[in-house]
Amino acid sequence: MRFLLDAEQREFTASLDAMLTAADTPSVVRDWSRGDHASGRALWRRIAEAGVFALAVPEAYEGLGPRPVELALAFVELGRHAVPGPLVETVTATTLLASLDDAGPAKRLLPALVSGESAATVATGAYALDADMADVRLALSARPGPPLGELEDGGGESSPTRTPAELRLAPPPGPPRPSLDPGRRLFPVVPHGGELLATDPPLAPALLLARLTTAAQALGVGLALLDRTVAYVKQRTQFGVPIGSFQAVGHQLADAKIALEFARPLLLGAALTMTAEDVAAAKVTACEAAYRTARTALQLHGAIGYTAECDLSLWLTKARALRTAWGNPDECRDTVLSGGRRW
């Protein structure tokens, strides 16, 4: 048992952090939210060059993966820097494609996703994130079929009917609906359109990775909110002293720190075990910690924090959006409760 990052992992995160710091991500996000993807695409390619998308792709398709620990570390950095785009969706799509029985779609689509030439989005519900920017738009939907009662095996309660899902390449989207997070652009999905890739594909590994990377991104968002707020309360003075010297301020930040520091081991532990319970526990904890930190960060910034001009907003709104993406808190808690004794 050695539950500590090794030198290579620390180096990987540090170099990603340095690259993203140099990239001026706040202005990339602002371009992105206007639908201008040029700076975002350039950044996307650099993230791919750093190897991030290869981490989810199996070696059979010239990837390095799956490497959940490294993916989690990478997504903490992407969250810390508020990088926009269908990041989680791209690694989810690569996992989904690589796990299909038919190797055709993977061979056709994965190389460009690994190299960052293309990006993917995955919709499991009504909206697809950044579907205008993504070249590979995967949509999962229940297969249209006869009503439940008419199915032969749909009788007794003991054999609940599963509706097979269809995985399709979706057609280009219509106009977006605004998200609470301007950096996330949501496009309504056209049901049952586009090329059918698979019926009843294995979803579990991809959904688990989606949850894990969303948790990691949320933790990064929370860490950035805490850092920025700590810096702010040290330099903002009221009543003649830095506001950070008031105990009521310090204690709120201490609570944010505790919440984030206990989410981190859950995330890395989940990346090691990849059990449904561990990943769900990491998701709910990281997202709640980030969300609470967002509330604290806004409060301690005062009115300046409540403006779209202040960069803080780029993280604030993302904390809210990630909380429900890929499994809301209640769904994650249900997964934990339904598990047996694992720990």
Binding site: M1, R2, F3, L4, L5, D6, Q9, V69, V230, V233, K234, V241, P242, G244, S245, F246, Q247, V249, G250, H251, L253, A254, D255, K257, I258, E261, F262, A263, P265, L266, L268, G269, L272, T273, D278, A281, V284, T285, D330, R333, D334, V336, L337, R341, W343
Partner: protein, 379 residues
């Protein structure tokens, strides 16, 4: 980075498990906060010690197994999963022993540790005073130099289990003329049955009589019972206070076992609508605390010390413990009001968590100032 235990660790786990399975009392011992329970728990310590399970991480020379921190964590997981009794000598084992390992003399270690390991000597912590709680350095109980030792006078209070314990350790002001309050303090051990000591039990919230205040009137302590240099007691005491808040006081094993029991309780009771959420949070919190501790233990093995990070720990487990036991009482409904059940005893005890071992307000100050680097405030 990995979570796998070595084969040797797993063998150690299996050995601990089977020993506990064979020895843990079939029905719970009476509360260790009562005279009868104290005696029963002392006997349990002797039983543990007979097969070297009372202080597994200590060197073998003092009755331990030299097991290291990872195996200590493994042992604690098995210990609480087996429903084994609480540890009556916790203060000695988690506070005094590490202090003696770091700052004591060889003679002190040889004299004090073996009888601590067997429970023959149970130790009380005599730090707090009526006027010195959070501001511990303002303490006033004094030690006056005399032939071959010191004469202690003054009052100590809130001393856990001191009503039935044998000896105590604490800080005394031996130089009243220093410019700063935390200078001129001496850390020493004394006998609770020595002439000049009066022990007055104080009933706790749960009515149990083991808590006590101590009145000291020229109690003689020989030089051999001074820990470290006279006048340097503050630094010595603080260097091990991190142990109390950090790893050693509350191992994850305790909360993992409690969370599992809560999960069982939830499956067999229908509670208020949101109890599922709270039970899930209890399971998640136990896992978070376990993994956080594994990470701390790994850093420790790499040679890092446990510094102000132990304050994160302390606030976390103390608040977690209340949330967990409170959920159990809510699930139990009417039964939850009964004061003599395991859950209600745990609940009442959990309420003290944010107060002892440095209040959570003080811990949040430490986090703000020493981990986040915020300016020291006007307190």
């Amino acid at each position: 980075m990995d979570l796998a235990f070595t084969q040797e660790d797993e063998a150690f786990r299996a050995e601990a498990r089977s020993w506990l399975h064979a020895h843990v009392p079939a029905s719970p011992l009476p509360s260790l906060e009562t005279e009868e329970g104290f005696a029963a728990h002392r006997a349990w310590e002797a039983e543990l010690a007979a097969d070297r399970w009372s202080v597994v991480n200590w060197p073998t020379a003092y009755g331990g197994r030299d097991a290291g921190i990872v195996r200590w964590l493994v042992f604690e997981e098995e210990y609480y999963a087996a429903g084994a009794p609480g540890r009556v000598n916790q203060n000695g084992i988690s506070l005094l022993a590490p202090t003696l390992f770091d700052h004591g003399t060889q003679e002190q270690r040889d004299r004090v540790l073996p009888s601590m390991a067997t429970g023959r000597t149970v130790w009380a912590q005599a730090w707090s005073e009526p006027e010195a709680g959070s501001d511990l350095a303002s303490l006033r109980a004094k030690g006056v130099r005399t032939e071959g030792g010191w004469l202690l006078s003054g009052q100590k209070t809130w001393s856990s289990r001191a009503a039935f314990a044998d000896r105590a350790f604490g800080l005394f002001r031996t130089d009243p003329d220093t410019p700063k309050p935390h200078q001129g303090l001496t850390y020493l051990m004394f006998d609770l049955r020595a002439p000049g000591v009066t022990v007055r039990p104080i009933r706790r919230l749960d009515g149990k009589p083991a808590f006590a205040e101590l009145f000291l009137d020229e109690v003689f302590v020989p030089d051999e019972d001074v820990i470290g240099e006279p006048g340097r007691g503050w630094r010595i005491a603080m260097s091990t206070a991190g142990n109390e808040r950090g790893l050693m006081l509350r191992s994850p094993g305790r909360f993992l076992a409690s969370a599992e029991r809560l999960h069982d309780l939830w499956r067999s009771h229908s509670g208020p609508a949101n109890t599922g959420t709270r039970v899930a949070d209890a399971l998640i919190g136990a896992r978070a605390y376990q993994l956080f501790t594994y990470a701390a233990a790994s850093r420790f093995l790499d040679g890092d010390t446990i510094g102000p990070e132990s304050s994160l720990n302390k606030v976390f487990w103390s608040e977690y413990d209340i949330a967990l036991t409170e959920t159990a009482l809510d699930l139990l409904g009417e039964e939850g009001e009964l004061a003599d059940t395991d859950w209600s005893e745990r609940y009442v005890f959990s309420l003290a968590g944010p107060i002892y071992a440095g209040t959570n307000e003080i811990q949040r100050d430490i986090i703000a100032e020493r981990l986040l680097g915020l300016p020291k405030g006007r307190r």
